[in-house]
Symmetry: C2
Subunit: 407 residues, 2 copies
């Protein structure tokens, strides 16, 4: 019998009724003849509620105690799911992250999984039980309860699938898979049946949130095939797997839109060696991720420098840049939140020329001005006016014929 | 520095504001120069909410999974209290029952504490930390999480106080201590400063719920002095300790009223050997606690037999008795829920005659009829009409002069 690891997110487990629906789904898989390990997140908004409680009792809740607090969320959902499955007549047992052998480093609230001791899980499986594991949590090398950070349950599932040599890893969520574009923007967007890990990562970092990035990385690295699909439907979702030659036949896999970035411009920066470092080092020290960077050609020994940051970091970034401005002798720092980043992603770009030209032309034909451009090997991103973002996505979706059935 | 164990109940920790108030209280004790171990229950009605969730996903939630579920409640409150204390500038650490070394047997949902491995708690104390321990939970000899049943947090506190050789064990609750009678019935009731464990047990089993009975038993047996007091006041509460000769000077310590019992009567039972066993064995088999039993003198080879059970057990008890009636050839089974049990309790009864006579006279002077009587060495209980119960308590409180200051 092949082993399958399933993971259900918080929205799939938000109420007792949904938990019973998940139990039925798990049992159906079991009846197909599979061994099953099921990783669960906390119910609905439990984690947010617990964080709010913590913030009400302490200004800066210590990470070790936060982990004690937050790990209770998955403990609740795992026990309830095990009960529901047993109530339907199938043997099941719930295990906390530590009981399931998820060993991590000692970084509370953002621990990394170091190894998985599968002995307890294997023992329970060998007794015919469906094993329910609390996602998002583990036991540190110092014997303390840790949590893996946002999206950590995905990582628990991938790590267990790898350590147990599972045949598959199914991530159940409230969307039906990864689409060629956000269906709310492009109604004719198509579900992508198969995508490479790299494409998935580029789409995720460009605004399409389906699965946590570190989990995708981990799965790709260790060759765990992940199937992202909907808890509320029986349709197949999107399979994320290692790149194979067939994937390059498709020029562009999908289009992403990110409206959560802001553009910062520093005007009339003296154009001399070391200035870029002077600007970006303090931002890095403050843990601010800078995404796109564009530097204009120099005039009279001065240049303009623009970059984008997450809107949540904008205030801090501006404060830092004001300080830098004075030090390097620049003229002005301005912010622009009315921007959107539109990206086309596909491993096919590696072997096909002309994707960028086609993208720029499609935007030009729509009268959309491009303010910044960056590229990776398999992605091209353009910053445009925010109000033109959705129109840009639709234009690109048409231009690359993503509404057509793949051949 | 002397070690003190404190325990705070759910109502004392029901909101973030209350948790901060408890933190202040804990810190005040620390500042007096004490080492502190603080046992916590789940916040407010958390445990009830979790039980309701379980009942919504499964008809009969398996006990092992219930313990997984319920133990999350104390995990939340312990982490929040540790955060609040640290936020106020004092070192603190929270420990689950298993981490605190509470070792139990394998009876899920009603586990018994077998021993306490104090090494982790002692280590944290030696580093100057205030140690917060999740009450109500432990680790079984098979390595599973267990819970101790209702009131189990009291037992955690008493067991830790004993194992650590603590100077004192303070049980903080939402009442100010044990009173000579329920102050809602007898406004002039007085707080009892010192009470023996036996008296406390008799009062508890007679309707005065302040502390869980098994915890009182355990404390008395192992010589742990318990101070029951209010979270919301600085007044001393009631100290429960081993009986000493001075205690016998007081004739009656307190009056209790229990309105949660019902009387069952089986009429015209053939009066022959083995009949009582035939009646009470099936009730015992169904785990129904029978409290008072009265058998009338026999007439014509038949007798009437009455006993009381908890009203929550009444339905089951009647069904069982109907079966027994047919088997033993009795005439009729009747139930009476309109009864109340009023009890006077005091170790002084052992050395003073006339308490019963005084009690019966006081009730007679009020025109209150006594329907059943039982006694223990330090308690006399009478069943009366339910609507006369409170008047009976007031009459007895006056008769034994419990409103006067103790000499």
């Amino acid at each position: 019998m092949a082993l399958v690891v399933q993971k259900y997110g918080g929205s799939s487990l938000a109420t007792p009724e949904l938990i019973r629906k998940v139990a039925e789904r798990v049992i159906r898989k079991k009846e197909e003849g599979h061994d099953l390990v099921v990783v669960v997140s906390a119910m609905g908004k439990t984690t947010d509620d617990l964080i709010r409680l913590a913030e009400e009792v302490a200004e800066e809740p210590p990470p070790r105690e936060m982990d004690m607090l937050l790990s209770s969320g998955e403990q609740i959902s795992m026990a309830l799911l095990a009960m529901a499955i047993q109530d339907m007549g199938y043997p099941a047992i719930s295990l906390t992250g530590p009981q399931a052998g998820i060993m991590t480093d000692t970084s509370h609230r953002k621990a990394r999984i170091l190894e998985v001791d599968t002995s307890r899980v294997r023992k329970e499986l060998s007794e015919g039980k469906i094993v329910i594991v609390a996602g998002f949590q583990g036991l540190s090398t110092e014997g303390e309860i840790t949590t893996l950070g946002r999206g950590g349950s995905d990582r628990t599932a991938v790590a267990l699938a790898y350590a147990l040599g599972a045949e598959g890893c199914e991530i159940y969520t409230d969307v039906e898979g990864v689409f060629t574009a956000d269906p709310r923007i492009v109604p004719e967007a198509k579900k992508i049946p198969v995508i490479s890990g790299d494409e998935m990562l580029e789409l995720a970092s460009s605004g399409a949130k389906v699965m946590e990035a570190r989990s995708v990385e981990f799965a790709t690295k260790y060759g765990v095939e992940v199937h992202v699909r909907s808890t509320f439907s029986d349709e197949p979702g999107t399979v994320i797997k290692r790149e194979d030659p067939a994937m390059e036949k498709v020029l562009v896999r999908g289009i992403a839109l990110d409206t959560k970035e802001a553009k910062v411009t520093i005007r009339r920066v003296p154009d001399r060696p070391g200035v870029a470092a002077a600007i970006f080092s303090p931002l890095a020290d403050a843990n601010i991720n800078v995404d796109m960077i564009v530097q204009n050609v120099s005039q009279d020994g001065f240049t303009d420098l623009s970059f984008t940051v997450s809107t949540s970091d904008l205030k801090t970034a501006l404060a830092i840049c004001e300080g830098t401005k004075a030090r390097v002798g620049a003229e002005e720092v301005t912010a622009d939140e009315d921007v959107a980043k539109v990206s086309v992603v596909g491993v096919g770009m590696r072997s096909h020329a002309g994707v960028a030209a086609k993208m720029f032309k499609a935007l030009a034909d729509e009268g959309i001005n491009i303010e910044m451009i960056t590229t990776s090997e398999i992605r091209i991103s353009c910053v445009v006016r925010k109000e033109q973002g959705e129109r840009a996505v639709r234009a690109l979706h048409r231009a690359f014929e993503l509404d057509k059935e793949p051949t």
